[in-house]
Amino acid sequence: MNNKSKKVLVALALLVCGTIAELFYLQHAKAMSEEAREKKQLFVSLTSLPDLALSTEATFVRHRSLSDFFSIYKDDPSLREYFPSTFAISHAKTALKP
């Protein structure tokens, strides 16, 4: 095998090792710790409100699983969806239930 091919294969091996090392690092440093999990669960059981505070611009986005169909109109009757985040997070499917 010539030098060039060896170099390419070594680069591939390094890339595989690097990706695996990155996965290990993230698993250790960035995964949810048991303590954080317990705290989160404690907080949610305290407030019993389920949704994430990622987007807070509108009530139906913030507490989406408890939003009703009309909460979209409450913000503005003419515009149904104009927040960028509603392209990813919309009102709950439960909102359509009677």
């Binding site: 705290k39 949610v44 949704d51 505070a53 990622l54 807070t56 985040s85």
Partner: protein
């Protein structure tokens, strides 16, 4: 099948001969994989976060509707609910939104039962610098909300404007732990009486009622009984929430994905089209190889190594950079899709989840497709007579 190292060497050298072209393909493919994987990683982390807290939620939430709109429910309903067999607890909740006009921020106010013993203990575990003065209404706020308060000069207390005019001063007793910031960032937890005063809600009313059911098997029966008992109410079970979470990135993110897939398919179509009308030089190469005695499967094996190498390199580069982008750099630019333009920003530190499903989904969406787009045209040329190809 035995791995033929000579063929691999030949494939690598063949790739390096057309360095510029192959590097460009590698770059575009890596970029596509990077965008696709980043989106999937963010989505799976958010889903994981939601699933983690799902078990801590009460089994049923009852909201009263009038004309399809949510209105306050009578607290007397709690006694009726408690009489249903299987219900272990029912609590009338007081919660809502408060618009802080100075900062242009809307946050959530949650009333809890006047700092009862169990609540006190939980609060002490999840709140930093928690100090409670007896007899004085106080609240515990999320980190983001506290920042907004301090920016506006409210470090120790906050003045809520009451609906009928006047102000209600509530002391800030503590800030929620940073670990809970994805849930607590824009929330203030305060005694129920204070919340009622701010919302001007009489003590006979509540925002909604949460019901705990000890035995999960009884949940559908209890929910059905509640629907019969309160025909005007919306009964949301934990199962509904779960289904709702599964749909969180529903058709709209589907549109995003479809648009993306169109891009991906266009890329493969270009590759396919380009190799299909194989440049005379590449065609000639295959012809010469055949004339030298290579069989069809030798040519195909060599082309397979070539295409697999380039797409696997691109896959690894795309995945590795997407992981760093989402979990180390906290997804700049992409976070805008999920955050919107809310004034109260949550630190976008998503928990890392090793999601084999996402990794394999991205792999099978890209690598085999690319290999196929290269192999098929090569096979068509390789099956022709060498003499016909070279000429």
């Amino acid at each position: 099948m035995k791995i033929n190292f000579y063929l691999i060497e030949f494939a690598i050298n063949s790739l390096l001969r057309q360095r510029a072209k192959n590097f460009f393909i590698f770059f575009v493919l890596s970029l596509l994989i990077f965008v696709l994987a980043s989106f999937f990683f963010v989505a799976s982390s958010i889903k994981h976060e939601l699933q983690t807290t799902l078990s801590a939620l009460p089994e049923i939430t009852i909201q009263k509707l009038r004309g399809g709109r949510h209105v306050d429910i009578d607290t007397s309903a709690v006694d009726k609910i408690l009489q249903i067999h299987g219900v272990s607890d029912a609590v009338a909740r007081v919660w809502g939104y408060y618009h802080f006009e100075n900062a242009g921020v809307t946050f959530s106010l949650v009333g809890i039962d006047a700092y009862e013993m169990q609540y006190k203990e939980s609060l002490q575990t999840i709140a930093e610098s928690f100090s409670l003065e007896e007899g004085k209404p106080s609240m515990v706020v999320g980190a983001g909300l506290y920042e907004v308060f301090t920016q506006n000069g409210y470090e120790e207390y906050f003045n809520f404007l009451l609906p009928q005019g006047g102000m209600k001063q509530i002391a800030v007793a503590g800030v929620f732990d940073g670990a809970t910031s994805l849930e607590s960032n824009d929330m203030a937890v305060l005694p129920k009486e204070a919340a009622r005063e701010i919302f001007e809600m009489p003590s006979t009313k509540a925002t909604d009622i949460v019901v705990k059911v000890a035995n999960p098997e009884e949940l559908p029966t209890v929910a059905a009984k509640l629907r019969l008992l309160f025909p005007d109410a919306r009964v949301i079970t934990k199962e509904d929430l779960e289904v709702s979470y599964q749909n969180i990135f529903d058709y709209k993110s589907g549109v995003f994905l479809v648009l993306f897939l169109v891009t991906l398919l266009t890329f493969f179509m270009i590759i396919y089209d380009k190799t299909n009308a194989l440049e005379s030089e590449e065609k000639k190469e295959i012809g010469i190889l055949k004339a030298l005695g290579w069989r069809v499967d030798d040519v195909l094996q060599e082309k397979f190594y070539e295409s697999f190498l380039i797409s696997f390199f691109a896959y690894l580069t795309g995945i590795a950079s997407a992981l760093a982008f989402v979990y180390v750099a906290n997804a700049p630019l992409l976070r805008g899709v999920f955050e919107g333009y809310s004034m109260l920003r949550t630190p976008f530190e998503l928990p890392f989840v090793f999601d084999l499903q996402t990794l394999s989904l991205v792999f099978f969406l890209t690598v085999p497709l690319y290999v196929g787009a290269i192999l098929f045209p090569s096979w068509r040329v390789a099956t022709l007579d060498a003499d016909e190809v070279i000429r």
